[in-house]
Each structure stands twice: as structure tokens, then as C-alpha cells.
């Protein structure tokens, strides 16, 4: 039998499969499929709706350039750390040490400048390196020692946080001191004002970082490997993906991003404080989950994480402006988290 015969034989074969592809779908199934293809769509819809609802309820008090950009400023740290968290969760992992790495990095930047008198540029570089190193250790333990990410980063969280307090001796470096001697540390606190809108460099960095990562995840082989590893580690390995290297690079990059968040944190609060950012862990995971990134890995978009962070920001500011008890915010965020995971489970069934 020659190849032509083979093709003739092949073309007569599985007709029932072709009909499977053309099967009629209900509108609900098509919607489900749409969400499966565009995981950032749900958080985007929720974000637009919540802005609209608070806009109607509060009028110009909420719907002003100042208030809306204030939300951006309030979520910038969570947004940046959320990028790190999103990357890790896409590999079906979780990083509980993001907040601690962020704070330690900011402390390194501050202490290296003021305790050792290093030029701020060098101190910032050391801080970034410190974050990357912490992330690398996480990645090494997860990839090479095959330890569960939850355990590794739970331990790392405690270790890094304790190191942070021991090393800094729990001392805060005051804002005025930084402003006078090392303004570079407050770089991300610089502002651009357009009309009533205020954009800090930190906010701009958050947006650019999210867009850059979204692009890299879509358009590079590395990005595709991140999704493949989160999807099915064994399959990725058998397909020739260097799973260990992908995992280590993801955790190290997450560490670096957290260090940038530490730098932005100095810009946001002005000072270097070893006790700041205690809730960043949970807030970053919240942003990722509300953003529609699957905790099972391999699915979701980093833009969704940004929308998730903004949803939390909109609820927080909106409810505060309405004079509601802050607990209402937490209650609603809790509902959103559970709703988001329910939607994720529903979308996962799309092909079954």
C-alpha cells in the first residue's frame, strides 16, 4: 500500500468525529466556552459593574478622576505582588512567602543605604537580588527536592519574616530621612498629575508589568511552558519541557517581582518599615482567585489578576465612602472569592 492508498483509507474513516465538532450548542454552553477561552472576562464584567453601581450610588464623590486613581494607588502593591502570585499559581503552586519577601527586600534596600552607607542604586540592586534569591530557593526546593509549594513557601514565609525582624532590629527608617538622603528609594512614589487624576510611578509600573507579563505568557515559548507545567507536569516533562527549569525560573521571577513591590512599598508609605505589608499574602491570593486564575494551574490570565485586585479596591473605597463598616468589605470579598472559585469549577466542566 502506498501513501496515496493510505490517505484514501484515512479519508473514509472517522466521520462521526467530524459531526461531533459541528454539534449544536446551547447559548449557555457557548457562554461557558467563551469564558473558558477568555478567563479575564468574568472579573472584567464584575469590575465594570461594581464601578457602575458605586458610581450611581455615590455620584461624583466616587466617579471622579481623583477617587478612581486613588483606587489604583491603593491596589498598586497588591497588584505588583499579585503578578508574582499569579505566575506561581499558574504552575499549580502557591506562594505564601510573597509578602515576607517584599518586606525583607525593602528592608535590605533601606538598611544597606543607611546602615552601610552604600549608594542607593547599589542598595536597590541588592534588595532586588535578595528577593530573587529567596524566590530561587523556593523554586529549587519545589522543583528539585519535589516538596509541595504550600509547605516550602509556608516555611519560607516564617524564615524570611523572622530574618526581616532580626536583621532590621524592628527599626523603621523614617520618611524624611529617606527623602533627604536617598530619594531613589521613594522613586515609585513620584506622581504624574493629569486633571484630577494622580498616577504614581508605582501604579504605572503595576500596569506595565501586568501587560508585559501577559504578553510574555502568550507570545513566548517560556510562557507556553508555564501553562503546560501548571496543566500537567508529567505530560509537559514527557513532551520535552524542562519542567524543573521552568519552575525555578517562575519562583525566582516571582521573588524579583516581590522585591520590586518592596521598592514600590517604600514609595507608597514613604518609610522603610519591617512591620508593613502583613496582609499582602492573603490579598495577593484574593486578587488572583477573584481574577479567575485557576488554583489547579494551567489556566487564567494575568490581566484577570489585575481586575481582581481592582475589584477589591473598588469595594474597599466604595464602601468606605458610603460610610459602611469595614467588615462589610471583608464579607463581600469573601463572597466574591467563593463565587469566583465556583465559576472556575463550572468553566472547568466545559469540555467534559
Amino acid at each position: 500500500m502506498n501513501p496515496q492508498d493510505y490517505e484514501a483509507a484515512a479519508s473514509t474513516s472517522p466521520t462521526e468525529i467530524a459531526s461531533f465538532a459541528g454539534r449544536e450548542q446551547t447559548p449557555l454552553q457557548r457562554f461557558q466556552h467563551l469564558l473558558h477561552q477568555n478567563p479575564a472576562l468574568v472579573p472584567l464584567i464584575v469590575l465594570v459593574l461594581s464601578v457602575a453601581v458605586f458610581g450611581v450610588l455615590l455620584g461624583s464623590k466616587f466617579f471622579s478622576p481623583f477617587a478612581l486613581t486613588l483606587i489604583l494607588q491603593q491596589v498598586q502593591i497588591v497588584g505588583i505582588v499579585g503578578c508574582a502570585q499569579a505566575l506561581v499559581i499558574m504552575t499549580a503552586g502557591i506562594d505564601l512567602s510573597v509578602g515576607a519577601i517584599m518586606v525583607l527586600s525593602s528592608v535590605v534596600m533601606g538598611q544597606f543605604t543607611f546602615r552601610y552607607g552604600l549608594p542607593p542604586e547599589v542598595a536597590v540592586a541588592c534588595g532586588l537580588l535578595c528577593g530573587t534569591l529567596c524566590g530561587f530557593i523556593n523554586g529549587f526546593l519545589v522543583a528539585k527536592m519535589k516538596l509541595p509549594p504550600f509547605i516550602v513557601t509556608l516555611g519560607m514565609w516564617q524564615i524570611v519574616l523572622a530574618t526581616n525582624f532580626l536583621y532590621s532590629a524592628n527599626e523603621t527608617i523614617r520618611s524624611q530621612e529617606i527623602e533627604a538622603n536617598a530619594p531613589l528609594l521613594q522613586f515609585f512614589g513620584n506622581k504624574i498629575e493629569i486633571g484630577g487624576a494622580i498616577f504614581t510611578y508605582g501604579v504605572i509600573f503595576m500596569v506595565l508589568l501586568t501587560l508585559l507579563l501577559a504578553y510574555v505568557l502568550r507570545q513566548t515559548a517560556w510562557g507556553r511552558h508555564v501553562y503546560a507545567v501548571g496543566d500537567d507536569k508529567e505530560a509537559a516533562e514527557l513532551s520535552g519541557v524542562e519542567v524543573d527549569r521552568v519552575l525555578i525560573s517562575v519562583y525566582a521571577l516571582a521573588g524579583l517581582i516581590c522585591a520590586f513591590a518592596g521598592w514600590a512599598l517604600i514609595g507608597r508609605i514613604g518609610s522603610v518599615s519591617p512591620t508593613s505589608g502583613q496582609l499582602t499574602n492573603i490579598e495577593s491570593i484574593t486578587a488572583v482567585v477573584i481574577g479567575g486564575i485557576s488554583l489547579f494551574g494551567g489556566r487564567g490570565s494575568i490581566l484577570g489578576m489585575l481586575f481582581g485586585a481592582l475589584i477589591v479596591g473598588v469595594f474597599t473605597l466604595g464602601l468606605r465612602l458610603m460610610g459602611a463598616d469595614a467588615q462589610w468589605t471583608y464579607l463581600l470579598i469573601g463572597l466574591l472569592i467563593i463565587a469566583a472559585v465556583t465559576v472556575d469549577q463550572w468553566i472547568r466542566k466545559v469540555s467534559v
Binding site: 468525529i17 467530524a18 507556553r224
Partner: protein
């Protein structure tokens, strides 16, 4: 089926004295098999006989504890699936090893993405190549943009086969390629094996179906409890002989 395979030259693959243990269990115990160009060697045995484990040493999924692998007469170092690919060994795994949330083209090129000069993935070219090879393997395949989780069993199988065939394999490993398929699709796989064989590929075929092995293979290697019972020319033995080897671990007297 077994026309005449020239076994006088250097074998394409020679696995010599392979052993691998998990914990205290010797999954593969001093097994040697070889494979010549244009030949299909069936690997038979019960579940847990060690055939998949043996073949995973060749595909790089496992690292053997002892033994040597020769490819075209040269000693080969295969420590991971990427090494195996460098020797033009491609594998269709029983589990298919597909990333469910990626589409067919992304899966076909996973780990070997086509990129533009600046290093970005070239989706257009990958999809075009995928359409071309799928047109040859499974002309009815249409769902190029859907994640492979949305495909039927047969469609997923054809993606896995396309991935193995696309990159000019010299040695092909098929681990129960027809287990999940209907009769027509099974026929397609059989035809494909014939075509590839004619192109001079060597194929290791793991299968449970003795009749199918007798039809598709030139030789059959039977394993039991991690050991090689024997290698026989399928045309010189009966189905019952092969079954006896699988069940009783008994090698027929007249076999080569």
C-alpha cells in the same frame, strides 16, 4: 506481514541488559531487545510485566539502573525525554502526554516551539504546519483553536501521533496506541504503522492484543515479572504459542 527484514547490519536500537527497580521491586530485570530499520517489534505481557517500564528507559521518562542502549551501534546516553528526542526517538504515550488547556498546535510543538527571529512563538506557522500534518493523518480534524481537552479520544490520539510523526522520528515507540480507539481509527493506526515501516522507521509497539501484534509486528518480545521470556518471529509461532509465553512464561521450542 514480515516480508524480509535485513537483520545482518547494525541494529537501529539495541537495549542491552537493562535493569530498573522501584523500591525493592525489580520492574525490569536484565532485559535485552533490539530493533532493526523497517521493523516493528511488539512488546507483550501482562499488566506489570515491565514492558512500559522498559520502553520508558528508551524514551527518557525513566533512568535505568543498569544496562546500555546503543543507537545505530553507538552508545547512547538518555537521561530525559529531550535526550531521547536528540536521537530521533519519538514516543506516543498511553496517557498521550498532552497539556489539556493548550490547543493542538501548541501541543504538537510543546518544548520545540517554532519562533520568529526575535524569539516570539510563531503561532501562524505552527498552526499551518499542524493543519498540514493533521490533513494527512486525520482529514476530519477541524478543532484547531480548541484546547485539546475539548477533543474526542480519537482526536486526542491523532494529535499525539502527529507530534511523534512530525519531527522525522527514526525510532517510534507506541504504548497501546489503539487502546482508546474504535475499529476504524484502529485501522488508521495500523495503516500508519505500515507506511512508517516502509519509510524505514523502527517501531516498538506495546500492545495487549495478541492478534493485533501478530498482524502488525515482525517480531514479538514477551515479558513476564520484569524478565524477558523470549523474542519470537511472529510468523513462525501461533497465537497460542504467544499466549503461552505471556501466561506461563514458557518459550516455544522451535522459535528463533
Amino acid at each position: 506481514m514480515a516480508d524480509t527484514i535485513d537483520r545482518s547490519g547494525t541494529p537501529l536500537v539495541e537495549m542491552r541488559d537493562i535493569s530498573i527497580a522501584f523500591g525493592g521491586i525489580k520492574a525490569v530485570n536484565h532485559v535485552s531487545v533490539d530493533l532493526f530499520p523497517g521493523e516493528v517489534v511488539g512488546l507483550l505481557g501482562h499488566n506489570g510485566a515491565g514492558k512500559s517500564t522498559l520502553i520508558k528507559c528508551l524514551s527518557g521518562a525513566y533512568r535505568m539502573d543498569a544496562g546500555e542502549i546503543f543507537i545505530n551501534g553507538d552508545k547512547a546516553a538518555i537521561n530525559n525525554p529531550r535526550d531521547a528526542r536528540r536521537y530521533n526517538i519519538e514516543t506516543i504515550y498511553q496517557t498521550l502526554a498532552l497539556a489539556d488547556n493548550l490547543d493542538a498546535a501548541s501541543n504538537l510543538f510543546l518544548g520545540r516551539e517554532l519562533t520568529t527571529p526575535v524569539g516570539l512563538v510563531d503561532d501562524a506557522r505552527m498552526e499551518a504546519e499542524t493543519r498540514q500534518i493533521m490533513g494527512r493523518l486525520n482529514p476530519n480534524f477541524q478543532k484547531f483553536s480548541a484546547p485539546v481537552s475539548a477533543l474526542s479520544g480519537g482526536q486526542r490520539q491523532s494529535v499525539a501521533i502527529a507530534r511523534a510523526v512530525y519531527f522525522n522520528a527514526r525510532i517510534l515507540i507506541m504504548d497501546e496506541p489503539t487502546a482508546a480507539l474504535g475499529p476504524q481509527e484502529t485501522r488508521m493506526v495500523a495503516d500508519l504503522i505500515d507506511e512508517l515501516k516502509r519509510q524505514g522507521l523502527g517501531i516498538f509497539l506495546i500492545d495487549h492484543d495478541v492478534h493485533q501484534v501478530k498482524e502488525l509486528c515482525d517480531r514479538a518480545a514477551v515479558m513476564k515479572n520484569g524478565e524477558l521470556v523470549g523474542v519470537v518471529d511472529v510468523d513462525s509461532v501461533s497465537v497460542d504459542d504467544i499466549l503461552a509465553m505471556i501466561i506461563a512464561g514458557k518459550k516455544p521450542q522451535m522459535a528463533a
